[in-house]
């Protein structure tokens, strides 16, 4: 009898999280319903974003009141989001795999906690700090050194031909900042898994005459592959949703698709922030509703990546349990 209130409390608390999730989805759906109707499917295929004339009289288009000339399309932001996250993953995966293997194999176990804590510390640096570093260090570096060198020697590859590199703000800067932010996520997940690989597996591989490289690449990495994929997807989730750091270094591309790795871009998350203040000046409120619809699209994209992760790993995230 005494246990009942305890159980009830737990039940209520545990229901709170799914309830909050449902509330968010419901809110987005209801709030953006009018925008979804107005924008139609073209919302995700158009490359124009125009709030229209917020200062003149609104007009009725397709049965709803909107500012004259309003036209909302987010293909540029979808492409920017996917490209910057993909490049960030491409940079981060080798870095973090290397870091994790180094920490688990090459570092004496006494120093390991210190070093791995340092890696974890990078994960808790607030994103605005990364953004500031990006503006102060990374962007000038790309603009004046890396960019010109890359376009000179790699310019024959279509996507690397930046001409003059566009000042450093853009896709590459955003991707590098994102890569730095997600590297510790992948590295720490992978490190935990590598340390869980049974001693017997390592030692028997050594006993068979395998070199250290072969032990890592043939005996250990296959065992942690699902964890690696899980870590990557976790990192991807962070990269897709990152707002402030990207906003500060992305160059804010608008109405134009990126044509090189140096092109200015906007991501979905950062674009929800940047025009919000102006959108609030829309007397018909359609601009804010369309921003809510963007949020819905971002939500769907992250949901899809997470579903993909579940499919790929099918429970493989819990490597720690099989000992």
């Amino acid at each position: 009898m005494q246990i009942k209130p305890f159980r009830l409390t737990l039940l209520a608390l545990s229901l709170l999280i799914p309830a909050a999730l449902c509330a968010v989805i419901l809110f987005l759906l209801i709030f953006s319903a009018q925008a979804i109707g107005f924008n139609g499917f073209g919302f995700v295929t158009r490359i124009i974003w125009d709030l229209g004339d917020l200062y003149g009289d609104p007009v009725t288009v397709r049965g709803v009141l909107v500012p004259a000339g309003a036209n909302y399309g987010i293909l540029v932001f979808i492409v920017g989001t996917l490209l910057s996250s993909a490049i960030a993953i491409l940079i981060a995966v080798p870095l973090s795999v290397g870091a994790a293997i180094f920490l688990s194999e090459a570092v004496p176990s006494k120093i390991r906690p210190v070093l791995s804590m340092l890696v974890e510390l990078v994960a808790v640096v607030p994103s605005v700090v990364f953004g500031l570093w990006g503006i102060a260090v990374l962007v000038p570096f790309i603009g004046t050194m890396l960019g010109p060198v890359m376009s000179k020697y790699l310019g024959f590859i279509p996507f690397f031909a930046g001409g003059d590199s566009g000042g450093g703000y853009g896709l590459l800067a955003a991707s590098v900042v994102l890569a730095l932010m997600i590297t510790p996520i992948i590295a720490t997940t992978l490190l935990d898994a590598l340390l869980q690989v049974p001693k017997e597996n390592r030692e028997s591989a050594f006993a068979l005459g395998a070199t250290h490289f072969e032990v890592v690449s043939k005996a250990m990495m296959p065992m942690v592959r699902t964890t690696l994929i899980g870590g990557i997807v976790l990192a991807l989730g962070r990269a897709l949703g990152e707002t402030m750091a990207v906003l500060m270094v992305s160059g804010g591309g608008l109405n134009i698709l990126p044509h090189s790795i140096f092109s200015p871009i906007s991501t979905i998350a950062s674009f929800i922030v940047s025009p919000l203040d102006s959108a609030e000046g829309d007397p018909t409120n359609m601009a804010v509703r369309s921003l809510a619809e963007i949020a819905l699209v971002l939500f769907i994209i992250t949901l899809l990546t997470n579903a993909a992760a579940k499919l790929l790993t099918s429970g493989g995230l819990h490597v720690g349990k099989r000992k």
Binding site: D57, G168, G252, S263, S274, L276, D277, E280, G281, P283
Partner: protein
């Protein structure tokens, strides 16, 4: 472990009781000291925010009964929150639009001070650049792409212009600076008005190499980091612009003269419209006709609902705004942010609007 938990709980409990007692004390003490403390919230323009901060500090010492919290959220948010009644004073670089005024007729736009905007350039080896609205419109719409373009050369006889590509920098976030800049382009260049128009964010024409930056600080950083760039920055950043080594362009005004943003030329713009400012003071000071007027000048507005829910709020808002357009307009405050005081005729109109707040 169990003991430890118990201990922790008891300390927590004690801390909680102490906190409760403290809060009780303060809430009892407050009404005893001054019976009517009115709390006002100011929210909006990041350009006005520094001025509000230095204002409120001095105002509070003289008016202990009125407490003002200042926040920097952006002009659009300031207007929206003032309309919703979430804040008592919305701060905005732009007046409330006709469409908004029609929907919310009790919302007032009250000028508090005058600000301006400089066009800055990062051109190694070039100083004293002259630009005009049509040239800037050409740069920002992608028809003028290089510094040695014939149109720029024609405005700058004798200046050795480099053949480099122009890097236009614009604001990424919603901004009163974008509003007045695009108003200037719209007023001076008909093709800009019909194609892009004006607003706090724009659907910028796509240009290879252009940069979007966040906030005035971001504009400054981007212009500094990119040789051959051009940017528009609020004059309150003038000292930082100078320190960054950026040039300030002289702009062609409606009378055809090239003028730099100085107190004299900004004041001339304000004087040229002060006689024709309508009673609701929603007027543009962009590209006015004065012979020495600087073309990008604007009022900084307080956006207030004239219909306040309680007279205590209305009294406090009137007291503060009256103080702001009188004592608050003294150079001790305005010079710190490079703003200019309201001309007497406009000050009278603002006072008349403030009196409407009930």
């Amino acid at each position: 472990m169990h003991l430890n938990n118990k201990l922790r709980r008891s300390t927590l409990l004690r801390a909680g009781v102490a906190a409760l007692a403290l809060s009780g004390l303060t809430s009892f003490a407050a009404p005893a000291k001054a019976q009517t403390i009115v709390s006002l919230v100011e929210s909006g323009s990041s350009l006005l925010y520094p001025l509000f901060n230095i204002w409120v500090e001095d105002f509070a010492t003289n008016n202990p009964g009125i407490q003002i919290t200042t926040t920097s959220t952006g002009s659009g948010a300031g207007i929206a929150q003032a309309i919703k009644g979430l804040v008592q004073i919305g701060a905005s670089d732009a007046y409330v639009s006709d469409a908004m005024t029609k929907m919310h007729p009790t919302i007032l736009s009250i000028p508090l001070a005058i600000s301006a905007q400089s066009i800055n350039y990062n051109l190694p080896g070039v100083t004293g650049l002259k630009l005009s609205g049509p040239i800037l419109a050409g740069i920002y719409s992608g028809t003028i792409t290089h510094w040695n373009d014939p149109q720029i050369a024609a405005a700058n006889p004798g200046v050795a212009l480099p053949a480099n590509a122009i890097v236009p920098v614009h604001r990424l976030d919603g901004s009163g600076d974008t509003f007045i800049f695009s108003q200037f382009l719209s007023a001076s260049t008909p093709s800009w008005k019909s194609s892009t128009g004006f607003g706090t964010t724009l659907s910028w024409p796509p240009i290879t190499g252009e940069i979007g930056a966040k906030g005035n600080a971001g504009m400054l950083a981007a212009a500094k980091a990119n040789p051959y760039s051009v940017a528009y920055i609020g004059v309150s950043y003038a000292s930082k612009v100078k320190a960054a080594g950026l040039g300030t362009a002289a702009l062609q005004n409606a009378a055809g003269a090239y003028v730099l943003p100085t107190p004299d030329t900004i004041g001339a713009a304000a004087d040229s419209v002060s006689a024709t400012t309508p009673p609701d003071e929603r007027v543009s000071m962009i590209f006015t006709s004065g012979p020495t007027a600087y073309p990008i000048v604007n009022y900084e507005y307080a956006v207030v609902d004239s219909n306040q829910p309680a007279s205590a709020y209305a009294d406090a808002i009137r007291t503060f705004l009256t103080w702001a357009i009188n004592e608050g307009n003294s150079p001790t405050y305005l010079n710190q942010v490079n703003f200019l005081p309201l001309p007497p005729a406009v000050k009278a109109l603002s006072a008349a609007q403030i009196a409407k707040i009930q």
